[in-house]
């Protein structure tokens, strides 16, 4: 066990490479069935069902978008109300100061604007980006993950992680190659 503890601090985990999207998806299901939780898969394009196969249950981006949209809606309308009715009311063509119909188009636009910002910023922030360095980049073949290779990593701080057993387990999933990732 002492040997195992020393290992978790010395490296990030193990990464297996697979031949195809199908092999990666199958492996992801098996890794989750085997009880591993600190895992991630890497692919050059989105693969439907892969995140769910690894046990991802988070759906936060839509909630941020809703919050952003509501902020834009209230903020946009309030801005117009405050400037046109409270701060500097001017009679323009005899229209009421609170011309709510006229305030709809800018309100619509601010709603969309803040919702869109919320979508992009929450996606980037939840993904932990920008992140200039990550241990997976240490694998020699990982530059192919943005081209035509498929990887699955199990982190060393996973409770079920054991370097030798996990390596054997990954190799048993028809991995093309299993490499150890340094920090």
């Amino acid at each position: 066990m002492a040997h195992h503890v020393a290992d978790t601090t010395s490296h990030y985990g193990l990464m297996a490479e697979f031949e195809s999207a199908q092999a990666l998806l199958d492996a992801a299901h098996k890794v989750r069935e085997a009880g591993y939780t600190k895992t991630d898969a890497y692919s050059p394009m989105p693969i439907h069902g892969l995140a769910e196969a690894l046990g991802m249950k988070e759906h936060l981006v839509p909630k941020f978008v809703l919050a952003g949209g509501i902020t834009g809606l209230i903020g946009g309308y309030s801005l117009q109300y405050w400037t046109s009715v409270v701060d500097y009311p001017i009679n323009i063509g005899g229209r009421p100061f609170h011309s709510w119909v006229s305030f709809i188009p800018p309100t619509f636009e601010t709603t969309i604007l803040l919702a869109a910002f919320a979508a992009v910023i929450s996606m980037i922030a939840l993904n932990g980006l920008p992140l200039p360095y990550h241990p997976v980049f240490n694998a020699k073949r990982f530059s192919l993950a943005s081209q035509d290779a498929f990887f699955l990593a199990i982190e060393a701080d996973d409770p079920r992680y054991n370097e030798e057993q996990t390596r054997a387990f990954l190799a048993g999933l028809h991995a093309r190659e299993v490499v150890k990732l340094d920090h």
């Binding site: 299901h29 692919s43 050059p44 989105p46 759906h59 500097y88 035509d148």
Partner: protein, 466 residues
Amino acid sequence: MDGTSNPQDPLGTVPVLAPGHSYRSMTDKLVGIVFSKNTPTAWFVFMAVGFTLLTVLTVSLCYLVLKGVGIWGNNVPVGWAFDIINFVWWIGIGHAGTLISAILLLFKQDWRTSINRFAEAMTLFAVACAAIFPIFHTGRPWLAAYWLFPYPNVMGLWPNFKSPLIWDVFAVSTYATVSALFWYVGLIPDLATFRDKAEKPWQKRIYGILAMGWRGSARHWFRYETAYLILAGLSTPLVLSVHTVVSFDFAVSNLPGWHATIFPPYFVAGAIYAGFAMVLTLAIPLRAIYKLHDFITMRHLENMAKVTLVTGLIVCYGYACEVFFGWYSGNQYERFMLQNRIISGPYAWSYWMLLLCNFLVPQLLWVKKYRRNIAILFTVSMFVNVGMWLERFVIIVTSLHRDFLPGSWDMYYPTRWDFMTFFGTIGLFLTLMFLFVRVLPMISIFEMRTLLPEASPKHKSEGGAH
């Protein structure tokens, strides 16, 4: 996304991606366009033309700032002319990019994949060209900030939110921002590919910074796809709102020829029409220069021709409605406007030219043989580009130059500076477009990968027939 060989599809014989491609072959081809040492001669030619015209734009804008808007042909009563014509023309062109990237994504049209990236770039550059006109027509663009945007200034002034012009500021600036976000988010995974394929360290560093450390993690892809889909959902009503608001600039006034309820839908259709024509105008030469026939197949061109035809017919329906509304209103000013615009006015030629370009010529696209003929397709798209410019000329100039009081009637003649500014923005557009093609992937590489059948695996317990 595997609609490549759908038996229900009458166009199934022409796939959206030529057979025989793999992840690697597509990546190498599309990355190779940028990293190649053999930049096509055509690129230098287009860039030279674009940059020359861009210089013309710089000169004409400098002179404008020096002398004021008096160098343009605008007068009373035609207080708005080339500035707003060109603004609406450019904004309209931008609409196809968002339509292709957002609306066709929601409708799961996989043929959008090879054209969405440069159509989005086209949107951004067209909006940049459009923005020049309203900003510089103020004559003192450095003061435009407090005229346009509500920020607390020492004069305590705010924009007038009861005016369609300020709605337009909000619509166009939101549109530009959201289009830029959508475009950049779409680029992130491809920038990571560029980072990993780059050989020179400075290239690796620049693309690496732009890719923000993207590593293709499954969890990241999951949030990425959610955000991308939501952006598409947000962009769809946004793009419809933008030209609607642009049409309010006219429709909310009480000028005959502008004051018509058909304007919002008719303007939106016109924008998509103009935009698809411009996408065809760009796609056909780019496809030839960079030999992209495998990715931009006849099917893309034919589908775009069909969208052009349909939106063109909607636009012509708008023309018919305008005429009918004017006549049926029984209002003498409305009826005079029509007579002046179509029959007896000094600008009647422009109306008939418009019908030639926007109504008559595009009818060729009903014929399959013509839709599949590159030369005819390109010619029709050029006619539509001109026609949509004439449409705005007709709406703006013929309505303004003969308003209610004959005492205020006058003719409008553009000056050389009007033309120089207009052609100058074409230079800006070409320069930006060809710089983009030179440094960024003009086709979305990661989305092209998803077109391969092996990119859509099935989990075995779901019983998928793989």
